[in-house]
C-alpha cells in the first residue's frame, strides 16, 4: 500500500520523529484521514526522494502531541489539522487558536466525514487577527 509506512503510537511518536531527523530525513508534510471512529495521522518524511511515513492511529477525542518542537516546519500543518479536523494539538510552537485557516463564524472541523452542525457565528465586530 503506502510506501515505507511504519505504525507508531502516541507514546513513541516524538522519539520516532526525533530518531529520523539525524538520519537526514526531511519533513515533508502531514496528512490526516477521518476513518470514522479514529483518525489516521500520517507524518511524511523524505530522504533522497524516498518517501517514508509514520502512521499514528488516533482515536477520536484524544489529543495529538505536536512535533513542532522537533520540526518547526510541522507547525503550520498541525494548525491546519487542528482547524479542519477539530483535533486538539498540544505543545504547538505557534498556536493560531483555531484561526489558522478558519475565520470566526466558519464551519467547525469541516473536513470530518460528518462535520458538526455550524455553531452560531461569533459576536459581531470580532475580526480575525493573526
Amino acid at each position: 500500500m503506502l510506501q515505507n509506512c511504519k505504525d507508531v503510537t502516541r507514546e513513541n511518536l516524538l522519539t520516532e520523529v526525533a530518531s529520523r531527523l539525524p538520519l537526514g530525513y526531511r519533513f515533508v508534510t502531514m496528512t490526516c484521514v477521518d476513518l470514522g471512529d479514529a483518525f489516521d495521522v500520517l507524518y511524511h518524511f523524505d530522504k533522497n526522494y524516498e518517501l517514508s511515513t509514520l502512521r499514528l492511529r488516533l482515536p477520536k477525542g484524544e489529543t495529538l502531541p505536536s512535533v513542532s518542537g522537533l520540526v518547526f516546519a510541522a507547525v503550520l500543518v498541525e494548525n491546519e489539522i487542528k482547524d479542519l479536523f477539530g483535533i486538539a494539538v498540544t505543545g504547538l510552537a505557534i498556536d493560531y487558536q483555531g484561526h489558522f485557516i478558519l475565520a470566526d463564524g466558519a464551519p467547525t472541523a469541516p473536513l470530518l466525514k460528518n462535520p458538526p452542525p455550524p455553531t452560531a457565528p461569533a459576536a459581531e465586530g470580532a475580526p480575525k487577527n493573526g
Binding site: M1, L2, Q3, R26, F27, V28, T29, T31, C32, V33, D34, L42, H44, Y49, L51, T53, V71, F72, A73, V75, L76, V77, I94, Y96, H99, F100, I101, L102, A103, P110, L111, K128, G130
Partner: protein
Amino acid sequence: MARKSVIPFGPQHPVLPEPLHLRLVLEDERVVEALPSIGYIHRGLEKLAEQKDYIQDAFLVERTCGICSFIHALTYCQGIEALLKLEVPPRARYLRTVWSEMHRVHSHLLWLGLLADAFGFENLFMQAWRAREEVVDLMEVTAGARIMLGMCCVGGVRRDLTDEQLAAVLKSMDKLNRQFDDLIPVILKDYSVQQRLRGVGRISRETAYERGAVGPVARASGVARDFRETGYAAYGELGFVPVVETEGDCYARMEVRLAELYQCLHLVRAAVRKMPSGPISVTPKGNPDGEYVSRTEQPRGEVVYYLKGNGGKNLDRLRIRTPTFANIAPLLAMLPGCELADVPVIVLSIDPCISCTER
C-alpha cells in the same frame, strides 16, 4: 530612536498578488518579527474532491492553482494511475512533459514580473510579462486554453499535437530563447537589481533543509533537490540535471529560476524532438483502491498529493501539500533582520501562491 511599530502587510496589499497576511514588527525600518497568517481564501477543495468521482477530480485539482494548474492535474493523474496500475502510453508522457515545462516557463516569467514590480522596476515587469505572452499563446494554440489547459486526464492526455503544432512549438521556443537572451543576461548584470537582491533574505543550506524548503528556494541554498530527477513523465529520458546555486539569498533564487527558464526551453525542445508516436491515452478500468503519495516538481517546488481510494468511484481522501505551504517556514527564517523595503522582495523570492496553499 528604536521605536517599535507594527505594519500589517497584506492580505489586500497592492504589491502582493496573493492574500498572505504578515504581521511585521518593525524597529524603525528593520523587521524584528514576522508572523504569517492565511485563510482568506480557503475553498474546501479537499472536501469537494471527495464528492466528485476520480475522473472529474482531475479537472477539479487543476483549479487548485491558477499558475501551475497543469502540473497539479499531472500529479493527481499519476497518483490515480499508480493506484489503478495503469501504464500510460509514451506519447502521453512526452506531451505531459511538454505542457509541464511550458507551464514552468510561464510561471517563472510571471514571477519575474512580480519580483520586478516588488522592487519597482516597472520596465522589467513589462518585458517579462511580454515574453510570457508568447508561451501563454503557445498553450492556447496547443491545448485550447491559456492556463487551465484541462489536457491531463487519468490514463494520458486529451489532445494530440499535429506535426505542424510541434513545429510551431519549436519555433516559439526559438523566439523565446531570443527574448531570454535579450532579457536575462541584462537582469543578472544590472547594478540596481544586484543592489536589491544580493545578500537579502539569506538562508543557509542547513536552515533550508531543516525547515523543509522545496523548489528553487531549496536549490538556491545548495540543496540539490528537484523531483524531476526521479524521471516521472518523460524527464528520465531527457537528461535532466537540477540547477543549483549556493548563496541562498534572493539573488540566488532569481538565478536558479532564470537558469531554469533556459532549461525549460531545452526540455521542451528535447521532448518534441524525441516525441514517440502512438496512442495518447488508455481508458482507465476499475476504481482506485488503497493509498498512494504522488509527488512532482512544480515551478515553486515539490507538490505532494496523498490519495486514498476505497474501491468506489469517489476518493476517500485527497490531500494536497503545495510547495508554498512548505516554503512559508523558510520564509519566516528569512524575514527577521531585513529592511522593510526588502520584505516584498523576500516574500516574492519564495514565489508565494497562497490560493493553492489554502486549497
